[in-house]
Symmetry: C3
Subunit: 360 residues, 3 copies
């Protein structure tokens, strides 16, 4: 195999993504491109059947398509790599061919290391990172400039802590975790008790536990738990988008997705493989079952069972919400129908008067 | 009294929270826990009556409950501390028993102090904080790593400025204020004037005034006022959650609560003791009266009087909004009723035809 | 002309804003104030006719008003500057009279400059900024403390990069751009492919292109494009407010405005001069035509044509949305009308029975 970032031959690529290759295996691929823009020497993909017509006209040297695609749908000069899941295969090829940023090793002299901080092998600590006393950084992790790692925080192996991440004291983070710039882990939860006209702060003395393979987007905030021996928990494989708010004591099950600008109130519990779409909000203490999807801009006010698809505010089953939307669109017609009925009733009433008098 | 972080005897704790103690005063309490998880040596609390059943089964050595709770509701081996407000008492005990982070004193040599910056006694300035010319830091305040305190900004006593806080020039902040990581104070407001096809920036030259005992959550943004001699004002005791947007010239009255992801547009004025729940938005220039609550995910488009509870978009009285929601849920029934009426009218009309012809 | 920040004579100010002056040109103006608070020596403005009554009572030495305003509407002791657009003229005067912050030149010794970073003339790099290898900073730009400029990023001339801005590798930024504290440019987009029970990250290897005269508010996040040779594009003159999320591959046309807490999903395309009001969300891949306005708190689920005004969720034409809102408000009346009709139909039916039996 050639060095990181390629180029690779089609045969090599086919091997990596376990594709059935139709075309010359010795063709050299230099880069990846969108199917519409791709030039000779580049590889593209089609995952969505509605873009298949582009495959017939592409100038790409090769295209990754589903095994269900017929050979005649592909441009004559273009090789085809048939796979089960073109999008997943494309992700693998992108990892292979994308230009790699240099990864250095070592602790920059302008970083601050607490006396008892423990730094693993092959770690790169960039200038002006601060790693406080008792913090531990696992092997192969990158700690960016202006990252702040608080006392006794623990970070696993091969993590990517981008510049300007704040990890407050005592937080524990798994391996292969990516934290984007501006992320705050372990800030105090929003807990206050009334004391006369004002509020008294409830000290927030729990912590945050983040699993392996988690990614958290720019400027998202994850509050620490309120109570000692309790934690806000982000499960393995969870992906959180930019500007998401995760309140204290929240538990998020493995492989859940939380899209941008979502707010999870305190003590919310999400099952595994839950998707919360953008700008949705959940009230405190709710439980959302496994495999459930909450649509964008929903407001969830009650527990939601597993394997559900909910939307709206207050959020209900999406199928019911669609009916509800349809009724809303029918309102002008309903008003018209009421008007028409009133007219017909008036005529009947007038007629009855006639009929009555006719009988007299 | 023992050292910070305990342990304390029950009698000592009872004295601090002014509780009536039923049990042995010499019992030693080492920690705090949730009523369901508490072990011997720990103290728990019950504020919500629906969790009282847990008090009957807890293994906690002591439990803080309301004076209205009967003794037989508490587990036999557990001491009881009777107070007026268990949640508030719990907050006090948590402050007492929570492990204390070391507070150091001094200006780290890697911090930048402007020539005319004034640093009070017992201040701790952490590595790589920047305090610009003319800024003043009050006695006992902590300025975290990567905090940026702009020219002529003034910070009161005993504040906690977490790492990565930005305080722009000229902002004035009271005492005992807590600013969480990523908070930006005094960014320019969003003010532009049309100039042909494009926009011209209105310079934002006012400032920000923050009272005493304010707490502002991670990654919240508070814009400075537009005009000279004007300020965006956050009153005493205000608590602002993560990722909240406060526009230019906003005034927030004392002891108000603003929950996560709320947006307050420019020149909004909130009275005292207002609560704005999560993800709500207020249009510009609105006034919200004292003691008013705006429910989560509301969109406020008009002024709201004092002592109100509003919800919905456009926000209306919550009682009206509930009726409105009930009408929405009745829509399928209304459609059905219209259908049934039409059928009955048709029959009446058909019958009238018969009746008419019968009369002929 | 006098030095930056004034004072200026009225004649000088009239010249700058091309105003028709009614009053003494040699009057000296020291500052700007709100029309209600202005004192002698200060200048104010009235753009909105409903504030004209203030102009009759102001103590300001001068007031900027529209050419359509009659002289007798102005307080007798106050000079008037007549212009076409008072708000725009005011912006110009504010720029003139606002106290100027000192702009220094040079690279602070505590900043980090990558070996191949290129710094233009008259640049000010503040303490603890980091500018990585290959980055280029244009003439006259200010790079604030704790700003992180990634490898090969390019920043134009006369930009203002506030403290705590993160610009990831390869991003390209125009001239006269203002990035407020906490802004993140070029974070990874939210792209994952299903792989069994978990997700595989799609490497995000595109970039970000930001035009000239752009302003981006505190803690906003702009993701980089997913594909190589693709970019998230922010056009010239675009103004983005605080806490806005811009997903990968989004294109924003020139002179568009995006208000706080808006979320633009991946691959959204906005035309020129589009306004997206606060807390609105757009689903992925949508196209919004030129000059279109989307009202606050809308949820856009379909393409929107040019020159439109949309609101609601799902967003529809604002005029239709207003009708829709009116129907919603009529629901109690509709329910009442149905009830009344039912009663009248029942009477008709009862009557028919009588009528029938009378005929027998």
């Amino acid at each position: 195999m050639s060095a990181d970032g390629g180029p690779y031959t089609l045969a090599e690529i086919a091997e990596v993504i376990e594709a059935e290759l139709s075309g010359r295996g010795d063709l050299v691929i230099h880069g990846i491109a969108d199917i519409r823009d791709a030039k000779p020497g580049e590889i593209a993909f089609v995952a969505n059947p509605k873009y298949l017509k582009e495959a017939a006209q592409t100038k790409a040297s090769a295209v990754i398509v589903s095994k269900s695609v017929q050979a005649e749908r592909i441009s004559p000069g273009t090789a085809a790599l048939y796979v089960d899941d073109p999008y997943l295969a494309f992700a693998a090829v992108l990892s292979l061919l994308a230009p790699k940023r240099e990864k250095r090793v070592g602790v920059d002299s302008r970083a601050v290391l607490g006396d008892t901080a423990a730094i693993g092998e092959a770690v790169w600590v960039q200038p002006y990172a601060v790693i406080a006393d008792g913090a531990r950084i696992g092997r192969g992790t990158v700690v960016g400039s202006f990252a702040y790692i608080g006392e006794d925080a623990v970070i696993g192996e091969d993590c990517l802590i981008y510049p300007h991440v704040t990890i407050r004291e005592g937080s524990r983070i798994g391996s292969r975790v990516i934290l984007h710039s501006g992320v705050v882990i372990g800030s105090d939860g929003f807990g206050f008790a009334r004391e006369g006209a004002s509020y008294r702060k409830i000290p927030q003395v729990g912590t945050v536990l983040i699993g392996d393979d988690v990614e958290i987007g720019a400027n998202a905030a994850i509050d620490r738990a309120a109570m000692p021996n309790d934690a806000t928990v982000i499960g393995n494989g969870v992906k959180i988008d930019n500007l998401v708010q995760v309140g204290h004591n929240v538990k998020i099950g493995d492989n859940s997705l939380i899209v941008a600008l979502v707010g999870l109130s305190g003590s919310v519990e999400l099952g595994q493989n839950v998707t919360i779409a953008g700008q949705t909000g959940l009230a405190g203490h709710l439980r959302i079952g496994d495999n459930t999807v909450i649509a964008a801009r929903s407001g969830v006010t009650k527990d939601v069972p597993s394997n559900s698809y909910y939307s709206g505010f207050p959020a209900i089953k999406h199928s019911d919400d669609l009916k509800h939307q349809a009724y809303l669109r029918r309102m002008p017609r309903m008003a018209e129908e009421i008007r028409a009925l009133r007219k017909r009733v008036e005529e009947l009433e007038a007629d009855r008067g006639v009929s009555h008098s006719a009988q007299k």
